[in-house]
């Protein structure tokens, strides 16, 4: 593949970033797991670990190929299936200075965490067997094609010039919309009353690991240890902080005091929102984007959800869906070629076209994800049944699905 040569520094960074993104899935497990009732903690942890196992294998076998092999229209086809041709040599179409296999494994961790994000919507009431099948099908028929459209060689949105640095469309919009769909179909939890998080420190631990891992997620997407990676890193941290502070103050204004759950939720919303923009915007823009992330996701969670009365248990839609969509649009506004010459300018820098592309991309993604997720859900519901029985739900997923309990009550 030409006169490309592997750069050890870039490779070191991408490998490390891959490890960081891998850690985000367990991080998410604790972020979500701390928020559910004590009797459902294992249900959440299990789904996250299962997503890691299943998608890792799917990706090696054919997922990566579907997403990144040269286009066959809808998705990438099977040219790279079984990692054929994915070896030590770089593929300059994706990353010219690192082994192609490093790009593959970095992308794998994105494919892993995306279905895991959806867990927040149907937490505390989905059958584990159905979750397994759902993850496999959803990854194959939703994640892989959309990743191809946006990032794959020949993908139509990529060709159109859409900007999505680290997955605002591919990861957060898809997961967020899928969360909305599943929350709507699966219905509310039996005990509707808000239940306090059973272990908020676990949620904080999860948020910390997510923040930590997100440096790999975003700055790793530079696929090199260069100035762009650094800029992305800074912008990521800035947006998270800004959104965390914003949510803190929103809580104070609307509810009379600041909260830990609000602050960490804000930070995660900021991270989700900056994701597509992170490689294209300045720190100043990141402060603004973080602010809007805090405001809009707060409002979605506090007002939209009660208003429409769907039970997105852990706000996967409110945080990742809203955040992702917001971020994709923000990219069309704040992107600057001063930060990333391979990007484009946004509205603020006089380019009106970009935001239209962004809106188109996010719109198509929403529609496709909505429909495809709906079909997959219904299919599984026919085959296995998606929701656990009432008794299992009351008993908790830990006991009913896995015959285990999270904590002993006595020594």
């Amino acid at each position: 593949m030409g006169n490309t040569i592997i750069n050890a520094g870039d490779t070191a960074w991408v490998l490390m970033a891959t490890a960081l993104v891998m850690l985000m899935t367990p991080g998410l497990a604790f972020f979500y797991g701390g928020l559910v009732r004590r009797k459902n903690i294992l249900g959440v942890l299990m789904q996250c670990f299962a997503a890691l196992c299943v998608v890792s294998i799917q990706w090696v076998l054919f997922g990566f190929s579907l997403a990144f092999a040269p286009s066959h229209g809808f998705w990438g086809g099977f040219a790279f299936a079984g990692l054929k041709g994915v070896g030590f040599a770089p593929n300059p179409a994706y990353a010219p200075t690192i082994p192609f296999e490093a790009f593959m494994v970095f992308q794998m961790m994105f494919a892993v965490i995306t279905p895991a994000l959806i867990i927040g919507a149907f937490a505390e009431r989905m059958k584990f067997s159905s979750f397994l099948l759902f993850t496999l099908l959803w990854t194959t028929f939703v994640y892989d094609p959309i990743a191809h459209w946006v990032w794959g060689m020949g993908g139509w949105l990529r060709t159109l010039g859409v900007l999505d640095f680290a997955g605002g469309i591919v990861v957060h919009t898809t997961a967020g919309i899928a969360a909305l769909v599943t929350a709507l179909i699966i219905g509310k939890r039996k005990i509707d009353r808000a239940s306090p998080p059973h272990n908020l420190p676990f949620a904080a631990l999860g948020a910390a690991l997510l923040w930590f891992g997100w440096f790999g997620f975003n700055a790793g997407s530079a696929l090199a240890a260069n100035g762009l990676a650094v800029s992305t890193f800074v912008v990521t941290n800035t947006a998270a902080s800004s959104a965390g502070l914003t949510w803190m103050f929103m809580d104070w204004i609307f509810n009379g005091q600041t909260t830990v759950l609000g602050t960490i939720t804000g930070a995660v919303a900021g991270l989700a929102t900056i994701t597509p923009a992170s490689g294209f915007v300045s720190p100043a823009s990141a402060i603004i984007i973080g602010f809007f992330a805090g405001v809009f996701c707060f409002l979605a969670v506090s007002f939209l959800k009660p208003r429409f009365a769907y039970d997105d248990s852990l706000d996967a839609f409110g945080v990742h869906g809203i955040g992702g969509i917001l971020g994709v649009i923000a990219t069309g506004i704040f992107a600057s070629t001063l930060i990333n010459p391979h990007g484009a300018n946004g509205l603020l820098y006089g380019n009106t076209k970009q935001i239209l592309i962004q809106l188109l991309a996010v719109g198509v993604t929403i529609v496709y994800t909505f429909m495809a997720t709906f079909i997959i859900y219904k299919l599984i519901d026919v085959i296995l049944g998606v929701r656990v029985g009432e008794k299992e739900e009351f008993m908790g997923l830990d006991l009913s699905q896995h015959h285990e309990t999270g904590y002993t009550l006595m020594e």
Partner: protein, 113 residues
């Protein structure tokens, strides 16, 4: 005065509280216990080793009431807790010799409510 002690299924607590409130029984004390009864719990399995898991999580409710409230309270608990399946639990009624409200140092029936 009586002290009513109910052992119920954890997930019926909300219903029981609701029924009690309807009857104006608002004061109660709750704790988490493990119960061994006729109910067969789920066998837990850890690395292939089966744990008959004979102690199941239950909720214990303690309510001190004056005589005229005893039957109302028992009925309310039954209404909230009963599903008809084993494991629904038991209610124990004990004689309460005295009751003191610490804040006011009142004693007897007046201190209960």
């Amino acid at each position: 005065m009586k002290l009513i002690v109910a052992i119920i299924q954890p997930y019926r607590l909300e219903h029981v509280k609701e029924e009690l409130y309807k009857m104006n029984v608002n004061l109660l004390t709750v704790s988490e216990v493990l119960g061994h009864g006729r109910q067969k719990g789920i066998t837990e399995i850890y690395r292939g080793i089966k744990e008959s898991g004979n102690l199941l999580r239950k909720i214990r409710i303690d309510i001190a009431v004056n005589e005229e409230f005893v039957e109302t309270t028992i009925k309310a608990i039954i209404k909230g807790a009963k599903t008809g399946e084993t494991g629904d639990g038991k209610i124990f009624v004990l004689d309460l010799k005295d009751c003191i409200r610490i804040r006011t140092e009142e004693r007897g029936p007046v201190a209960i409510g």
